[in-house]
Symmetry: C2
Subunit: 224 residues, 2 copies
């Protein structure tokens, strides 16, 4: 990474997860663009974040314009919108990192793991985009619940899976920049864990009546 | 559970994971039988544990005899031995709880998630045994590394998945009895997470040069 922080486009950036992460990244100094199918909705979402931030740090654009302006493109859309959203911006992704946050939940039973037949949802995206785009899987397990409350430390590790290790390292920096802890989780196929884990965390939230279960990896150096 | 602790049979009980768990359960007061294809090997494994325990608490038998004597049968064999081992003892399982610890690793790339086509490995077992056996998935993510060192707290939560909730609760007690923390992870299909997570933990062990990464669920009541 250079001294200048990369510009982040968050597609589906008006949803709870996307706007929550965008809020934290903007607060950490990253240039953030919220993307949405509608430029107007994206601008409204950006205005809300800027109000919370007390400064005009976030912009809003349609998804394609957002992807064009960014060095790193983050996708936080529902599973059903994953392929069409990424397909629409594919022309703007060459040579960039695409961070896929998609969780393949199948409503209504979102507390049951129901992975796609091909394994992980993100591998289908890497296959669709080809090797010119560095696809990295991350952030699926971060509950949106407390992201916009800066007084609240979000207690969750981020499993970062991807076939290109330098790209993984950049995404780990993105996690660390907002007080999460990014961890190398191996090749892209290992995304299965993060994609499936969200259903288990939802199941735990329901059974134990808590708002946002997360995970920590134990046994790492420097850990209590 | 009654006041008398149930007898546990650990099939594949001479391996690192099975004997480590058996050691901890015996130390916690459970009657433990190690099972193996060879009764002699099982008896040797039991003798080793009894030496460590300083008391004759553990017995060794062939897998079928062990399963017959136990109320709860725990399977800790390599993936390739899972179906034949369980098939061999199926006649002794009716009305019992079968705890499947199997991780569907595919050597040599055990740090890559390579789940069976049907999803989780444990669902195939439930299907094979039918509804008369309560199949519960647990303990896949507990590193064997420190199990036989009682001075070492094993820092790992145990995701417990199963379709029968009372059986899950009994397995959660088994985890809690040895200082782990059992957590309801939802229906049996959610076992995918624990089965796949082991490859991610192996990948983390390799990259961060640590002996036994584990997981903690965050956000639960009573947690720091």
């Amino acid at each position: 990474m250079t001294d200048t922080l990369p510009t982040l486009a968050i597609l589906g950036g008006t949803g709870a997860e996307g706007s929550g992460l965008g809020f934290r990244w903007a607060h950490a100094g990253y240039p953030v663009i919220l993307g949405s199918r509608s430029a107007e909705r994206a601008q409204e979402g950006a205005a809300e974040l800027n109000k919370l931030l007390g400064r005009d740090l976030v912009r809003g654009m349609d998804n394609l314009s957002a992807a064009k302006e960014a060095q790193i493109v983050i996708v936080t859309v529902p599973y059903s919108a994953q392929k069409p959203t990424i397909s629409d911006v594919a022309s703007a992704l060459d040579g960039k990192i695409l961070v896929d946050v998609t969780v393949p939940l199948v409503p209504p039973k979102v507390n049951r793991v129901q992975l796609p037949a091909e394994g992980s949802a993100v591998e289908a995206i890497q296959h669709m985009l080809g090797a010119g785009v560095k696809v990295v899987s991350a952030f699926q397990n971060v509950s949106a619940h407390h992201l916009k409350d800066l007084s609240h430390t979000v207690e969750c590790d981020v499993l970062v899976a991807g076939d290109d290790i330098p790209s993984r390292e950049i995404v780990i920096e993105l996690a660390n920049a907002v007080g999460l802890r990014g961890i190398h989780a191996g090749p892209l196929c290992n995304s299965v864990v993060a994609e499936a884990l969200t259903s288990v965390l939802i199941s735990i939230n329901q059974r134990y009546k808590i708002p946002g279960a997360g995970i920590r990896i134990t046994g790492l150096p420097g850990q209590d």
